[in-house]
Symmetry: C3
Subunit: 308 residues, 3 copies
Amino acid sequence: MGSLRGRDVLSAFDFNREDLFRLFDLAERLRGEISSRGILDYARGRVMVTAFFEPSTRTKISFQFAMARLGGEVVDFIEEASSIRKGETEEDTMRILDGYSPDVIVVRHSRPFFPHSVKDIVKAPIINGGDGTNEHPTQALLDVYTIWREFGRVDGICIGILGDLKYGRTAPSLSYILTRFNDVTIYYIAPRQLQVREEVLKKIEGRVRYHLVESVEEIASKLDVLYVTRLQKERFEDPQEYERLKGSYIITRNMLEKHRKIPMIMHPLPRVGEITTDVDTLPQAKYFEQAKNGMYVRAALLKEVLGV
Amino acid sequence: MGSLRGRDVLSAFDFNREDLFRLFDLAERLRGEISSRGILDYARGRVMVTAFFEPSTRTKISFQFAMARLGGEVVDFIEEASSIRKGETEEDTMRILDGYSPDVIVVRHSRPFFPHSVKDIVKAPIINGGDGTNEHPTQALLDVYTIWREFGRVDGICIGILGDLKYGRTAPSLSYILTRFNDVTIYYIAPRQLQVREEVLKKIEGRVRYHLVESVEEIASKLDVLYVTRLQKERFEDPQEYERLKGSYIITRNMLEKHRKIPMIMHPLPRVGEITTDVDTLPQAKYFEQAKNGMYVRAALLKEVLGV
Amino acid sequence: MGSLRGRDVLSAFDFNREDLFRLFDLAERLRGEISSRGILDYARGRVMVTAFFEPSTRTKISFQFAMARLGGEVVDFIEEASSIRKGETEEDTMRILDGYSPDVIVVRHSRPFFPHSVKDIVKAPIINGGDGTNEHPTQALLDVYTIWREFGRVDGICIGILGDLKYGRTAPSLSYILTRFNDVTIYYIAPRQLQVREEVLKKIEGRVRYHLVESVEEIASKLDVLYVTRLQKERFEDPQEYERLKGSYIITRNMLEKHRKIPMIMHPLPRVGEITTDVDTLPQAKYFEQAKNGMYVRAALLKEVLGV
């Protein structure tokens, strides 16, 4: 049986199908153990560094919780209180952090492929916690884990991914991880100028079915999952176009009641109005559940990478 | 015997007389155990989240120390490094944090009644670490604990609370908690425009004796305790009035030597000049002792809320 | 046998020769134990506070790692999220932190002699993590530990210290600690206006040999170690003079290949261009090793100060 022991996790492609099912099962097991014992002993004596060169709530805190639940130690590198201000390069910072011999480093950076660029100068396994517009593989991991928990499978799923797909890192990683499952259909729902990047489509070509559409209405009845991401005003050259379009990309209770057939609404969070709060109490609203699942599946991932 | 197990602590009124004496006794016991063993085992396997949406030194650090001394884990949500910047609501943040199943959340917010507004969407017990101008119940808890340690009782005490009582949250919570004791007298000492709010007086009406006065001189001889808080220049419409008044609200060694009968000087800290440093070495200066007591009585509170 | 148990470490002079060799040996022993067991048990039940009133990457994180590796707890006081903003003095902050009975406090401040100024109001042992332009004793400790590991001795060493020696705290502490060894020669390499301060030279007079020079070229062949620090443009009154000089104070691979005889290049880090990255892969480039050594020798220091 395979394992991710000692491996870097830089891309959603770093998980194969077998890895994913093993992590799902492990996450379920850890959920039970954490529920009964609070803090476990798997990672006793191990140290994780969180090096977030870009702010984050859920990802960093979720990893910190996961490591704490495994019984390990966390050392948090905080950019604000650091020598970055003095002009040190992040490469030097990573080398220094690695010199303290952590067992794993979770890194986020606004620069695409930053984790890839330092993996050879860093001995500890690196987990990519988000690299600019490129990828966010553990987000994709918790996304498919959440779908798997809900439907008992990911194979055969039909998912609509909505919002700014061009600049977001959620859509690429989610697309890549979905190639590990069979018979998946993706609808990319975005205004033309914010559609998913060609490079992303090239990587999934022939491995999932996909369609580019401009509105959720036209395909809502086909969806098992509607995955909502943010549409940012500042991405539009013409503010009037934003005003014209935004209504179609805000998910409201009223809109959903017209499309009863969407069984599951997801969002990577944080949201800033693109799902109205009246949706929160609908049974298909799973985005807080999704965030919660993140802790368990990240704990599973850490346990594997640490080899404990 | 009662207990605060699993309970939210939102207001100083959430402590009844029996709770207070039980917490005082427990704080004394923990003080001894911490002194001999450093870190205890009561909260092994438990996780506390500190979610301070407004800065704080003493309250947050004091809770973190308290939890560490009990052997528990702390996960600190830091606003600066978070998605709040991206516009996420604090309600969503609280839901996400709660999703990680912490055993208790200590929350501070500049908005009055913020902890009350999220208590129903959050499963973990919430401890109010200060909500705007409204309340700061654990400050009040450590205040009465400090008085109890000094005098062996709180019943019958005569206390002067001085400073900006209108906008401060210390005076309300301290007033509320003092209603749990018998025969207490409060002198609210403030310029008329910064006197304690009507809503506060209504809640304590008939449960403590109180008087509104404008200067400490007139009642100094009656006080067991002088509790000093800050007077902020920016609260005054007329800067000249501030200049005229401020001298009466700065406690100096010289001023205290005229009023030898004040046996105890308290301050919630931080101070910014309203008690001059020459007071620090007087035997009745108890404000650093008071801050120190905070850790022990918060440890007692955590132990009870966690039910460990 | 001596020990630093319970002692403040404010100056590099606080280490005598015997202390240094004992700490070196202990650091080696801890290196082995940490390598095999990850986290040790020496500091179980002990709490270290890091109080950095000035930003830092390496020093703070290095101490946090060191304490975590010893099995102790860390409580980090973060200035940004604190009452300092409200105008509290750092002296009050230190008193409050000390009131929580930590076992050791590591403090950094931009004001020279700040740790000295609070040592009498603080019960816990204080370790100076850098006080303005004055000193950085644990940096000096790891510097000589690194030299000792490389050469098997510090006695008899010839070291060039290059850069802004007037305003830096590295050069003073390193100079002081080198007085504990025999037959040491220091070349201070700096533009005249940034040469090492008179007060520093007075303290080492007669205890090491030293020479003031303006360029590394003239003495490169004599050096065992070249210790590089930063040269800041803003220190120069005349920007043209900076432009004229800076080339001589940037260490490049090309420059080093002309001076093959320099067996060891050190830097306290962070660097901002004063050693070009093409130097990093040379065998004599030891600055990342040096940062790494910091964790082990700080762990040794903490173990001694804690008396565990």
